[in-house]
Amino acid sequence: MDKRVEPVTKEPAGVTGFLEAPPHVSEWRRFSRVFFSRKIVLFGMVVLIILMFTAIFANLLAPYDPYTPDMSNSLLNPTREHLLGTDIFGRDTLSRLIYGSRTALAVGFISVGIASVIGISLGIVAGYFGGITNAIIMRAIDTLMPFPMIVLALLVAGLLGGGIHNVIVALSIATIPPYTRVTHGLALSIKENDYILAQRSMGSSNMRIMMRHILPNAFPPIIVLMTMMLGSLILAEAGLSFLGIGIEPPGAAWGGMVNDGYKYLQENPVLSFAPGLAIMLVVFAFNMVGDGLRDALDPRLRGLL
């Protein structure tokens, strides 16, 4: 993809003569070598790809309709027809699990999108302008900080009333602070660089400097944070839907399915266990991919890995 040549080779011959030219390795090649070097990261990647396929083609993959009740097959234990059994309404657990991946991914990705755009913008503006702007933004973020994430999300979702849209809004608000804090710190250090000074002397607008120079340089740590947040968001969404705030019935969400199964733990434990395992696997996959990205993008590890 990005086949940039190391900048040293572009310098005049007289200068390069004194410096040892580093070996030509493209950024992308180095990135993919480090990223794919750990088997567990690869595993996470595979899980996520399968998950996305499952979510997209849920209607083709699910063996039964996840919403239609079939009271004659209520609370079946796993059989050949119903691989993971059925719930109290006789709905196939596997099918609901497959449809639940849509909820998990939709909530995860949309919330990360909203929270990161707002959080990153606030962080860059606060760090770049400093002074009173910085004080106002960072105090506002500090105000959100003492709330545990799920409590904040519960509060907002409770205020707005349940439903998947409100859960997305709630989780987005609850996860803004980490983006702002990380970006704020990065913007503070990036703006001290000489290339920012050069841009200013050339008369670039603040907007251009923030968008074209600070944002791209802050991006690697942010993309790692976003990946890690996806895992936390899926856990938090599961927690909220376990408490009964989230997608309205008969919609399928993994956390809600754990709660449904909790009532019939004696009769059909799989009903509760299976969605929990799915949550764990997906969160694990996101964390591993995040770890791999961090190793591959961290400039301090350049040359070590």
């Binding site: 105090r139 506002a140 500090d142 105000t143 959100l144 900080m145 003492p146 709330f147 545990p148 994430m149 799920i150 409590v151 519960l154 509060l155 907002v156 409770g158 205020l159 707005l160 009333g161 895992g231 856990l235 599961a238 927690g239 376990f242 408490l243 009964g244 956390g255 754990v258 709660n259 199964g261 909790y262 733990l265 004696q266 434990p269 509760s272 266990f273 969605p275 929990g276 949550i279 764990m280 969160v283 694990f284 964390n287 591993m288």
Partner: protein, 321 residues
């Protein structure tokens, strides 16, 4: 040092005022009239038949007819006097309600903090000093799994295995250790495991990488070269220095425990502030939600303040200007 503490206290106080404003005004955006919900709970009468004068009377009793800023100031003044308002739903003073529920959450939370610190730090330490050996190859994967487990699911899994199948432990409830010590401990085991699992895993992970960082340092090599015994090198030279980055994590752990209490107390039917918060949000019980969230925020702010100050005693290089 004193100026630093005073400055941090002032900063904390400002945040606290902002937090209280946020909670108060956010709660007023709540859709649904709490008074109607209250009436539905407490009177047999059909709500439609209720004369408006009665509603006005109740509104006046709860102080809901005054303008919002006045309500806010009254709320704050009340808290300072020790009166946190009345719960619409429980028909009780919020202060009394919190006094019953808060110690339960704190008791389980402190147990969970102790477990996550002791187990997490020991595991991380062992994994680091025996890097690549069997301890490490057990601990490290577990730390990765520990941060992914949905704790409510873990609770249900344990209820199924230890409660329903093996009949080892009671499946739910809470008993004060002063009433029945054995039963109390038995009932606390599963909730405390759920509450501490995330902390154990993240503490172990942080401790492992922190110790690995410290044992590369020159002063550790010097300690070995002096011929000091392993015990001394590990406990005196390595451990204290490795703890510095971990302490922040323990401060954050309090926040996680409050967050977890919402889920764990629901699973195990424990009468703490976590479950109180959930039921009060569903009941639109303004005063209780405000009180619970405010108390959580105060504790988190205080703990973080203590963590910030305690850096100084752990790391003498840190000076407060």
């Amino acid at each position: 040092m004193t100026t630093f503490i005073i400055r941090r206290l002032l900063h904390g106080l400002i945040i606290l005022v902002l937090v209280s404003l946020l909670i108060f005004f956010a709660m007023r955006l709540l859709p649904g009239d709490p008074l109607l919900i209250y009436m539905a709970q407490h009177s047999q009468q059909n709500l439609q038949d209720l004369p408006p004068e009665v509603l006005e009377q109740l509104r006046h009793e709860f102080g809901l007819d005054k303008p919002l800023p006045v309500q806010y100031v009254n709320w704050i003044l009340g808290i300072l006097r020790g009166d946190m308002g009345d719960s619409f739903f429980y028909g009780q003073d919020v202060g009394t309600l919190l006094l019953q529920r808060f110690p339960v959450t704190v008791y389980l939370g402190i147990l969970a903090l102790i477990v996550s610190s002791i187990v997490g730090l020991t595991a991380g330490m062992l994994a680091a000093i025996r890097r690549g050996k069997w301890v490490d190859s057990i601990v490290t994967p577990l730390t990765y799994i520990g941060v992914c487990i949905p704790i409510f699911w873990l609770g249900i899994l344990m209820i199924y295995v230890f409660g329903l199948k093996l009949n080892f432990l009671p499946i739910a409830g809470f008993t004060s250790p002063f009433d029945d010590f054995v039963l109390s401990i038995k009932q606390a085991i599963m909730p405390v495991i759920c509450q501490s699992i995330f902390g154990v895993a993240s503490n172990a992970r942080q401790m492992r990488s922190s110790v690995l960082e410290v044992i590369r340092q020159d002063y550790i090599r010097t300690a070995w070269a002096k011929g000091l015994r392993e015990r001394v090198v590990i406990f005196k030279h390595t451990m204290k220095n490795s703890l510095i980055p971990v302490v922040t994590l323990i401060g954050m752990g309090v926040s996680f425990i409050f967050g977890g209490s919402v889920l764990v107390e629901t699973v195990f039917a424990i009468p703490g502030i976590g479950r109180l918060l959930v039921t009060s949000i569903f009941n639109h019980d303004y005063m209780v939600v405000q009180g619970v969230v405010l108390i959580m925020a105060i504790v988190v702010l205080l703990v973080n303040l203590i963590v910030d100050i305690s850096y100084g005693s752990l790391d003498p290089r840190i000076r407060y200007g």
